[in-house]
Symmetry: C2
Subunit: 361 residues, 2 copies
C-alpha cells in the first residue's frame, strides 16, 4: 500500500470533516450567544447566475443570502440544510459514500425532517455545496454511475480496502465503470496524448474493438448521454492536470451538441463549482456540415428537436459565431444524424477515415 496515497486521501477526508464540524460549531456558537442561528451563502437565484465569457462557464454573482432560522419561511430549508450537513459529516467520518436518492430516503427516516420529494433534497445538497464551496463528491455524495473509461491510464485507488492499489484502465476490454473508486483515484501515468469522449456505448465498444486507444493514442470515455458530474471532473483533470487535449464526438442533433457544450462550459446548476468544465475541449462532430459532406443517413428533426435548437440559439454558452453557425446549419437542414450513421461506409470507416480527418492525425 502506498503510504503517500493513503495520506493524501486521508488528509482530504480530514479537511472535509473539519469544514463540516466548523459549520456545526458556528451554529452552536450562535445559539450559545442567544442568537437565532443562520448560515451565510452565495445566492443561487437565477438573477445571481451569470455567464462569464472569460472563464467560459456560468458563475455565481456577488449577491449573498442569509438563511435565518428567525425567518419563518427559512426554517424548513435551514433545518434541512443542517440535517444534510450532519449526514454528510457522518459519511465523511465513516468513510462511506451515498447517492442523492439515498440521502433523500435517509431523511425520510427522520421524524423532524420533511421533503416534498427528492428534488427538494437534491436542492439542499446543492445549497450545502455552495455553503462549503465544495462539490458534493467531496463530501461523498455521488450520482448513480453509468459512464465508463478505457485506455492506457494507470490509476491508484484511494477507496477503503483498495488504498494504494494500482490498475491500468486497459485491463478490462469492456471498460471500467466510473464510480466513486475511479473518481477518487489518483492518476499516476499515461502514455496517451489525448482524450476522446463519446456519448454512446455502441461507439465506445466500436472504438475499443478497433483499438482506437492505440491508433489515436487516446483515453476513451463513454458518457452514456449527458455526462455525470464525476465524469466531467475526470475530463477536466485529464485536460488541466495532465495536459491532454480533449475531443468530444456526439450525434448531430441538439442533444449531442449540448452534451459537448456541458463538458466544455458546464451548466447553470453548477455555477458555484469550478473544475467541472473544460473550456479547451473540442467538439469534433458529427456536425451539420458532416451530414452534407459525408452524405450521412439522416432522420428529420422532430418538433421537440426544433424547439431545443431555438433555445440553444439564445443560450449564452452558444454565443460564439462558431456555435451559432453549427446551430443554424442543423436548423436549415432540418435533419439529424447519429454517430452510427458512419456504419454506412463500413464498421471501421469511423476509425480509418472520419476520426483521423477530425483529429488531424
Amino acid at each position: 500500500m502506498s503510504k503517500k496515497v493513503q495520506n493524501d486521501s486521508e488528509r482530504k477526508r480530514e479537511t472535509m470533516e473539519k469544514s463540516l464540524t466548523q459549520m456545526g460549531q458556528l451554529i452552536y456558537d450562535q445559539i450559545q450567544n442567544r442568537e437565532f442561528p443562520w448560515i451565510h451563502m452565495q445566492s443561487r437565484s437565477t438573477d445571481n447566475i451569470m455567464y462569464d465569457p472569460d472563464e467560459r462557464q456560468y458563475i455565481l454573482g456577488p449577491r449573498m443570502i442569509r438563511r435565518h432560522s428567525r425567518n419563518i419561511r427559512h426554517i424548513r430549508p435551514f433545518t434541512q440544510l443542517i440535517w444534510t450537513s450532519w449526514f454528510a459529516k457522518e459519511l465523511v467520518r465513516q468513510r462511506k459514500t451515498s447517492t442523492l436518492r439515498e440521502v433523500y430516503y435517509s431523511a425520510r427516516g427522520q421524524r423532524d425532517i420533511e421533503y416534498s420529494g427528492q428534488q427538494e433534497s437534491d436542492n439542499i445538497i446543492t445549497d450545502l455545496e455552495v455553503a462549503l464551496n465544495r462539490a458534493r463528491e467531496d463530501f461523498h455524495i455521488f450520482p448513480e454511475e453509468r459512464s465508463s473509461i478505457f485506455g492506457d491510464l494507470t490509476i491508484e485507488y484511494t477507496v477503503p480496502g483498495y488504498e494504494g492499489r494500482r490498475t491500468n484502465l486497459t485491463d478490462h476490454p469492456d471498460g471500467a465503470m466510473i464510480g466513486p473508486a475511479v473518481t477518487s483515484s489518483n492518476f499516476i501515468e499515461t502514455t496517451a496524448d489525448k482524450v476522446l469522449v463519446v456519448e454512446k456505448g455502441a461507439m465506445f465498444t466500436r472504438l475499443v474493438e478497433e483499438r482506437a486507444h492505440e491508433k489515436f493514442n487516446a483515453i476513451l470515455i463513454h458518457t452514456a448521454g449527458q455526462s455525470p458530474r464525476a465524469t466531467r471532473g475526470i475530463i477536466n483533470r485529464l485536460n488541466k492536470d495532465h495536459g491532454l487535449p480533449v475531443y468530444i464526438f456526439t450525434d448531430a442533433d441538439p442533444w449531442g451538441l449540448h452534451i459537448a457544450m456541458v463538458i466544455i462550459s458546464g451548466s447553470a446548476n453548477a455555477a458555484h463549482l469550478r473544475g467541472l468544465s473544460t473550456p479547451n475541449a473540442q467538439w469534433i462532430g458529427v456536425n451539420g456540415s458532416d451530414i452534407i459532406e459525408y452524405k450521412l443517413p439522416t432522420e428529420p428533426l422532430s418538433e421537440f428537436d426544433r424547439k431545443r435548437l431555438t433555445e440553444l440559439k439564445k443560450d449564452p454558452r452558444y454565443a460564439r459565431e462558431l456555435w451559432q453557425k453549427e446551430l443554424d446549419i442543423l436548423i436549415e437542414l432540418d435533419q439529424k444524424a447519429e454517430l452510427e450513421a458512419f456504419s454506412k461506409f463500413g464498421l471501421t470507416y469511423i476509425v480509418d477515415e472520419y476520426l483521423p480527418a477530425k483529429l488531424g492525425v
Copy 2:
C-alpha cells in the same frame, strides 16, 4: 496465452462461420437448380409463441414457415435476411462485433437493401437467430452495454488481443462493464456461492461499499433496468454451469417485478432461444409485504403502474399462486417502494438486516 481458450473460442467462431456459409450454399444450390430461393424457419407469429410451464419460459410452437422469393410479399424480408446473413458472416470472419444499430446503418449504405426503420432491421436479425437457431451474440451482434458485474470470479478473455488473459472481477471496485469481452469470456473459478442481482446502480455501489460480496459470498450483478440479454445469459451460466443460486433484488413496483420475471422466465421475443432464462432464480423483494412489514416510505401507484399490474395479472409467467399474490398485494396497497427506501433505517441496514433475513444467512 492459454492455447485451450484460444482453440475453444476459435472453434466456436469457425462453427458459426460454417453455419452461415451453409446457409448461403443452400441459396446458391436452389438458384442453380433453377428454383426461386427460399428459407425454412420456425414461425414467430403470436399464435406460434406459447408459454411452456415445464421449461418455465416462452417457446416456439411446431409451425414452420417458408420465406420464399417467389412470393412478392416475401421478397423484401427475404433479401434483408440474406444481406444480414452476409453481414453476420463478415463479422464472424473478421472477428468483429457490431451493435443492432450499426447493423441497421450498415444496411443503409447498401443500394438494394431498404428498411423503414431500425425496428425492421432488428426484426430480421431475430429471424436470422431463428433460422440458425443461435443467439445473435453468437454471430457477434451485441446490444449497447450498460450492465456491470463485481465479485470473486476469475474470467479468461477470448476477445482479440486479450485471448487467454485472466482477470478477477474484484479488481476494479466500481465494477466491470458487461460487454462483448465479459460475455464471451470463460468463467474459470469463483469462491462465491451465490449471485445477487440488483436493478440499480446506486444499490450496486452500496453493496460493493458494504462488501456485500464478502459478507454474502456473492457475485454482484447490476442490470441497469431490464437486463440486456447478454447479462441474462451470464446469470444463466453462473446458475446452470456453476451451480450458484441466484437472488434478484428490485423495486417494489410492476417494473421491478418484471425485471425479476424476465430473468426467471425470459421474454416472448426470445421464445426461440434457450440459455437466457433462469427458472430457479429467486426474487427476494422488495415486495408488497416488505412495504408493510418494514413500514417503508412509499409513493402512490400511477395510472400507468396500475395498468401494468393488470396486464401482468394475465401474463402466463405470473400464473403461479405466489406471483398472483404478489401482484394483488401491490394492487391493494396502491403504493410502490424503491430499493433505496431502506436508507430510512441507515445506509447499512440493507446489508446488516434486510438481505441476511431474505437470504437466510
